[in-house]
Symmetry: C2
Subunit: 131 residues, 2 copies
C-alpha cells in the first residue's frame, strides 16, 4: 500500500486550490499542498493499543517534521473502531519524507496487525479555511 | 437534516480527546471541541456554482465567527463532484451559532438544489495535531 501511495502522490498536482489561514481574511495559492484522507477500521481487540501508537506517531511527526502541517485523527461517534485521518503536508516531497521517517515506519509496522481495513483518498483542495 | 444535526450535536460530549497545536510539542484537553465530517455528492451540472458558494461560505465563516476554527473543503482526486469537509468548532455553542448565521443559511438554501447527497458524521477527536 505504501509504495503505491508514494507513486500516486508523486503524480498529484493541485492546481487552482486555495489556502485560507490567519485571523484576518486572506488567501494564498496552496497548489503544492498535499491533503490526504484515510479511513481505517481497527480490530476492536487492539483499539487502545492502536490509538496509543497513532497518537505517538502524530505527536512525533508534528514535532520533528517541518512539512507535516496537520494530522487530525478522529473516530466516528458511536463507532470507535472507525478512524478518519485528515492529513496536510506542505508538498509532495514532505509527504514522501514522512513516509520514510523512522516514526512512521515504526507506527506502520507496529499496527499492521491491528488494522482491518485502510482506504487512502487523495484529494484536491477547494478551500482550506483556518484561524 | 439541519435540525436533526443540531439535536445530535447538542448531546455530543468529547471526553478524553487531545488537542495538539503549536510548533513545539504541547497538548491540551480539547474536550469541548466539535469536529464534524461531511461527505457530499454534487450535481455535476452545478459543480462550479456549488464550489463558489462553498468558498464564500467558508471564507465568511472563518472571518466573522470566532468559534469556527477550521473549515477544510476538498474534492476526491479524479472525482470532483465528491466533496469532503473537515469542520472544527470551538464548542457546541459555536457550532449552533454557525448553523444560525446568515451566511450559512444563504449557502444552505442557495445550494440545496445542487447537492445530490449529504452525509454528516459526528466524531470524537483522538488527536488533533497541527503546526
Amino acid at each position: 500500500v505504501r509504495a503505491k501511495t508514494v507513486a500516486m502522490i508523486s503524480t498529484a498536482v493541485f492546481v487552482g486550490s486555495l489556502l485560507l489561514k490567519g485571523p484576518l481574511l486572506s488567501s494564498e495559492t496552496g497548489k503544492d499542498r498535499v491533503v490526504r484522507l484515510a479511513e481505517l477500521e481497527i480490530d476492536p481487540a487492539h483499539l487502545e493499543h492502536y490509538k496509543a501508537a497513532l497518537q505517538e506517531e502524530i505527536a512525533t511527526s508534528i514535532r520533528v517534521e517541518p512539512g507535516v502541517l496537520t494530522l487530525y485523527a478522529v473516530s466516528i461517534k458511536d463507532h470507535p473502531t472507525q478512524i478518519r485521518l485528515f492529513e496536510m503536508y506542505a508538498n509532495a516531497a514532505a509527504y514522501e519524507t514522512h513516509l520514510q521517517s523512522p516514526h512512521f515506519k515504526k507506527y506502520k509496522s507496529g499496527t499492521v496487525g491491528m488494522v482491518k481495513s485502510l482506504k487512502l483518498l487523495e484529494t484536491e483542495p477547494i478551500l482550506l479555511g483556518a484561524k
